[in-house]
Subunit: 409 residues, 2 copies
């Protein structure tokens, strides 16, 4: 991919994605193999006046080696200094940017209990930090770049260099970063969301009934005063940002006690290096009553059984089939892209901003109002070409607002 | 460089250098550009039973960008979590390995006051950690690999790929890692030091008078009960290790109050990205009375004026001209190699192990015994082909034990 194009993409992440302001520290999470791009992002961050850019380097093989060869107690441990580091940067008002290029098979063959324990230890220790991100008290944004392993996973029949090139093309198109002025394109993109979000927020449906041809038939109660969000988000300090590049979804908060019916996944879920395939769940009163998967069911179990909140829903998100990613008909093995191809639900923690005043409530107050809480937040796709969504109002009247995978305007 | 050769070099660092024992955590400092080699070292460390391998990634361009564009207060700040991280790993008994490939010109053009302040803040905050390393309470080892910038600095007339290849050859030869069994070669190398070190320790000279044809003429008092060390070191726990790959020096502790005369550097000193050239110092009662440099004198000043101990000597090291590095007649712009080409002195902190019982004394007790203390420890070369060293005994008798750059056996 040519350098000028990459620079525009890096700028999009810094200026539109994290919307870095003069004087803010920026933390960039980046794989050592993606240093060439991480340094571009870093340069853009200093260009807009970042006070400091901190690179948080990661390395897939290092992570894998630790899981395979590290001593067992490591996976129940999360050093306090790591928590203190997050607090140090949060107190200084850091913006978090992530360059993702994860190998979907990174943790294949690793002892699942090690992954589960490590995830639990990390999530418990960084709960405060996650809450800051999810309540938009700190801005953050994620974009993706190809790695050889990821590109070969998505395009197994292509030679490596060609696969990388093809994935770059898909990423930039999917992230609407392939035009002459991506930042302007994103401004337009954002405006297109406004009408749809306003419509749904005025409707203030009591519940949604969602059906697909592959077996999903579920009714989701929405929390009172729920807010539909889409096309970017607003920082607590009033500075807008885009947490995800790309973003094609509009989403809101289901009531943690009001999901009834069956959801059949329409795409595999790549979770911590394992691919969960052919899975479905049945809900009763908001809780997963039963579940199954044709492949990697134990990975699905490690999600659902993480804690009580992981058995309940934190997000319902709708995506039009006509989105650039939806049109690519490509499984990216990466939630950032796959969640924007199709409607999805999230098990686990809800975004407080999806409820009026949610960000200012305590966790207990939120839970009492139906807002789900958990150590994790995991999206999975269920949308299909023939999906239908019906909004049910307080008075019982029904409005079909999404038919055959497209919004009815 | 072929992979098998590199694997032997990585093994040398882990098994002979740090001498990693089963169940120990290992911290590997490595540039993101050297990940291919860092991962080999990591693999060897797990092979010998490391409990965890922690990669401390660094990136030259990131460091440079921070100095150029970071906000000014960063350079007086050293976050507490960084100190806590060191303590966390030290308490677990970590071994520290470093893969160095620094660009000698990394910080060229950077505001020297920023470098000086950052160095001071870092050294003050990590004083406890440095003391653990310098007293061998924690084992550590450094090796080098070429970077494009470093290779081009050493061999400016060669194309980049050739310069890298040539530097690899020099590094492996200099580190005695070019044979079929480098670990066995290092065992032999170590035995060769024993005779020389034993001889000097039995002599227990009161002082040394060192002269060279380019103007050095200095008398250095040695501390009482000084110990000559060379060809590896002994951990406090009785496990031997080699802090530096290569190592060709034997060294001991000058008395911090007893250096009188003039020292003329025989090689430039590459310090924090700046090359100090044509420099000399005059000592009186152990203290630098005056100094000058033909280039980058302000960098020399930033060393000498760091603190009182930086004006005094912490180490005198002798190297035979016939060492592999001495024979290469190459300026490496890297202390790890250049210090093994030639005799040198260090400004700043002394190694407590160079005095009988030193490692068990308090800093105050050591200083009272003539052992220098400082935030820093910086080596500079003064050895020449025609260097002569005379040992002066308590009774005033003189023994020439190094003549024309070679030890007299």
């Amino acid at each position: 991919m040519n350098k000028e194009r990459l620079m525009k993409y890096a700028e999009l992440l810094v200026r539109a994605g994290g919307n870095v302001q003069k004087g803010q520290p920026v933390v960039i999470s980046c794989s050592v193999d993606d240093a060439y791009f991480g340094r571009m992002v870093q340069g853009c961050a200093y260009d807009v006046g970042a006070s400091e850019v901190i690179m948080e380097w990661s390395d897939g093989p290092t992570t894998r080696a630790k899981y395979l060869h590290g001593s067992d107690e490591l996976f129940d441990t999360f050093p306090q200094w790591t928590v203190d580091k997050l607090k140090y940067n949060n107190d200084r008002g850091a913006v978090y940017l992530r360059v993702d290029s994860s190998d979907p098979d990174l943790l294949a063959g690793v002892d699942p209990s090690r992954i589960k324990r490590a995830t639990k230890a990390s999530m418990a220790a960084t709960r405060e930090h996650s809450a800051l991100l999810m309540s938009n008290a700190r801005r953050w944004s994620i974009c993706a770049v190809p790695s050889p392993a990821w590109a070969k996973k998505v395009f197994p029949d292509l030679p490596e260099a060609e696969a990388i090139d093809r994935l770059w093309g898909h990423i930039l198109k999917g992230a609407r970063a392939d035009g002459a002025d991506p930042i302007a394109d994103w401004e337009t993109h954002k405006q297109n969301f406004v009408k749809r979000v306003d419509y749904l927020n005025k409707k203030a449906f009591k519940s949604l009934r969602i059906t697909t041809g592959i077996g999903t038939d579920i009714t989701l109660g929405l929390v009172k005063n729920h807010i539909w969000v889409g096309g970017g988000d607003m920082g607590k300090d009033g500075v807008p940002f885009f947490p995800n590049l790309p973003t094609e979804e509009i989403f809101t908060m289901p009531d943690r006690n009001q999901a009834d019916g069956r959801v059949v996944a329409s795409m595999p879920l790549s979770y911590q290096g394992r691919l969960i395939e052919g899975f479905e769940m049945t809900f009763k009163n908001g809780r997963v009553e039963s579940y199954s998967a044709s492949k990697n069911q134990e990975a699905l179990a490690s999600i659902i059984e993480m804690d009580e909140g992981a058995r309940r829903l934190g997000e319902v998100a709708l995506v039009a089939n006509s989105s650039p990613i939806g049109q690519m008909k490509t499984l990216f093995y990466n939630t950032l892209f796959d969640e924007n191809a199709s409607a999805h639900l999230a098990l686990g923690k809800a975004y407080p901003n999806n409820m009026a005043g949610g960000a200012d409530m305590t966790v207990e107050e939120r839970v009492a109002a139906g807002c789900n809480d958990s150590l994790l937040h995991v999206d999975f796709m269920f949308g299909t070409q023939d999906m239908q969504v019906v909004g049910i109002s307080e008075d019982g009247s029904e409005t079909v607002f999404l038919q055959d995978g497209e919004f009815i305007d």
